[in-house]
């Protein structure tokens, strides 16, 4: 595996400076966040490098448990931010992600698809959790948006005597669909538009393309299933916070 020198690392930063300067030019007001995000990303990655080195050295199940818990917490926090205003957005995402990750692990390990080793389970779990986090955030955001755009329809349904689950159904169907579209599109163009990250990594690392593809199939399908389930579970739980016990719509206050 070829080493990347510190100098070449620095040159990559020039790439980041191009959009940053352009955004100044167009006064998009996002230059600061871009710089901050890049810096944050770099620091996070360096730290993760050390953390992973440590994790790969200790007992597998302890390492996996630790890593998965941290990843799910961070992911839930991030998704919860998007779902601000929805009651227990963090808790909902946390629970759903934990269940999904549990299912995925049972599948991977139980059917001997991948061995229970930190080096395999942690990065692959990371991908599943990361994608599910995006799906959860999308579902929460979409739910808020749809409940406000289609408030009239929900009120009409309630006025006809529908219970909250029935009334919410009008909206949830669309929410789930919208949250799944990116991953369906991703699945369709996989390998065509972009070589998926994991495959890229494996090939750079020296694995044969066929071997890399086998992993990629496992991870792509796992991600697709997780993302779909996340959208469904999150919507199916989170819609409740738009209603009170008297079957009334409650105002969701967004202050972000």
């Amino acid at each position: 595996m070829p080493e990347i020198s510190n100098l070449s690392m620095l040159t990559v930063i020039i790439f980041v400076l191009i959009p940053v300067s352009l955004s100044y030019l167009y006064s998009l007001g996002i230059a600061k966040t871009t710089i901050w995000s890049s810096l944050r990303g770099i620091i996070q990655l360096i730290l993760i490098g050390y953390v992973l080195t440590f994790l790969f050295e200790i007992t597998d199940w302890i390492a996996v448990t630790l890593a998965v818990l941290v990843m799910i917490s961070a992911a839930s926090w991030q998704a919860g931010q998007r779902g601000k205003g929805i009651k227990n957005a963090f808790l909902v995402t946390f629970t759903v992600l934990a269940i999904i990750e549990g299912l995925v692990l049972i599948l991977w390990i139980g059917f001997n698809i991948i061995p229970f080793e930190s080096q395999q389970v942690i990065p692959m779990s990371g991908m599943v959790i990361g994608n599910s986090m995006v799906a959860s955030a999308l579902a929460l955001e979409r739910l808020k948006n749809d409940f406000s755009v289609h408030k009239g329809k929900v009120l009409a349904a309630l006025s006809l005597g529908a219970t909250p689950p029935k009334a919410a159904n009008i909206i949830i169907r669309n929410t789930i669909k919208a949250a799944m579209i990116p991953s369906i599109d991703g699945l369709k163009t996989i390998g065509l538009v972009q070589l998926p990250g994991m495959m890229t990594g494996l090939i750079i690392g020296g694995a044969s393309p066929i071997e890399a593809i086998r992993y990629q199939i496992v991870i792509s399908l796992s991600i697709f299933a997780s993302v779909s389930l996340t959208s469904m579970f999150v919507s199916a739980i989170a819609y409740r916070s738009f209603f009170n016990k008297d079957m009334q719509l409650v105002e969701i206050k967004e202050n972000d």
Binding site: G152, A156, L160, G161, D246
Partner: protein
């Protein structure tokens, strides 16, 4: 006066936006609700089918606090039509059966009957709601509420988006409902002519209070408050 059984009653009803509202609605009557924009008309009628609840006072339906009814049952009995059709994605029939299916009361016959009532052709049952005109959508919305066979009909500017002909048609249907089914109607309208034409009773609401209520004729002929006098003049 058509009968005198009290069907709805408000006692010192208040929310953040409306205050000390006392009112009585008799069964089989049409109550027209008038008043300036933002005065609290919608706020009031949304309390009747518990879209919202008052912070103070109580609302009685057949002498019993609305909170004592199971919510879906109350909303079946007190139906609501909105200013916009708010139809659900799908066919006209799917919309019409939404309510009745909750109660296991749907029959295809009912669908046809409802469409006849709002003077739309039977073939409309299978039409996608996207494929019919705005006025037709509003009539489907009206039929969808009637499908629940409500005792009370709440209408929040429900005819304001209709063209004159369709509005006339809906008005005829309302009068027919009152006559045949003894249905009670509370309708908010900005059209004072309409309020006068249809109302047995009228509520005049301003600034979150019911300033006047009584026989429609009396309110229009001899308004008691300066506010109503002014309102009738400028509108």
């Amino acid at each position: 006066m058509k009968g005198n059984e009290v069907i709805l009653e408000g006692k010192n009803v208040g929310t953040e936006r409306v205050h000390n509202m006392d009112f009585t609605v008799l069964k089989g009557q049409i109550v027209t609700i008038i008043g300036p924009s933002g005065s609290g008309k919608s706020t009031l009628i949304n309390l009747l089918n518990r879209i919202n609840d008052p912070l103070e006072g109580e609302i009685l339906f057949h002498g019993k606090n609305v909170k004592e009814y199971p919510v879906p049952e109350l909303r079946k009995k007190i139906g609501m039509v909105f200013q916009t059709a708010n139809l659900f994605t799908g066919t006209v029939e799917e919309n019409l059966k939404y309510g009745p299916e909750i109660w296991g009361e749907w029959t295809p016959e009912l669908g046809k009957e409802l469409l006849r009532f709002v003077q739309l052709p039977e073939e409309f049952l299978s039409k996608d709601v996207e494929d019919i005109s705005g006025g037709q959508q509003q009539r489907v919305s009206f039929a969808r509420t009637l499908a629940n066979d409500p005792e009370v009909l709440l209408m929040d500017e429900a005819t304001s988006a209709l063209d004159n002909r369709t509005e006339e048609l809906v008005e005829e249907e309302l009068l027919q409902l009152v006559k045949e089914k003894k249905i009670t109607i509370l309708m908010i309208t900005h059209d004072l002519e309409q309020a006068r034409r249809l109302g047995d009773q009228t509520f005049f609401i301003a600034d979150g209070r019911i300033l006047e209520q009584g026989k429609t004729e009396d309110l229009f002929e001899s308004p008691a408050t300066e506010e109503l006098k002014f309102f009738l003049e400028v509108e």
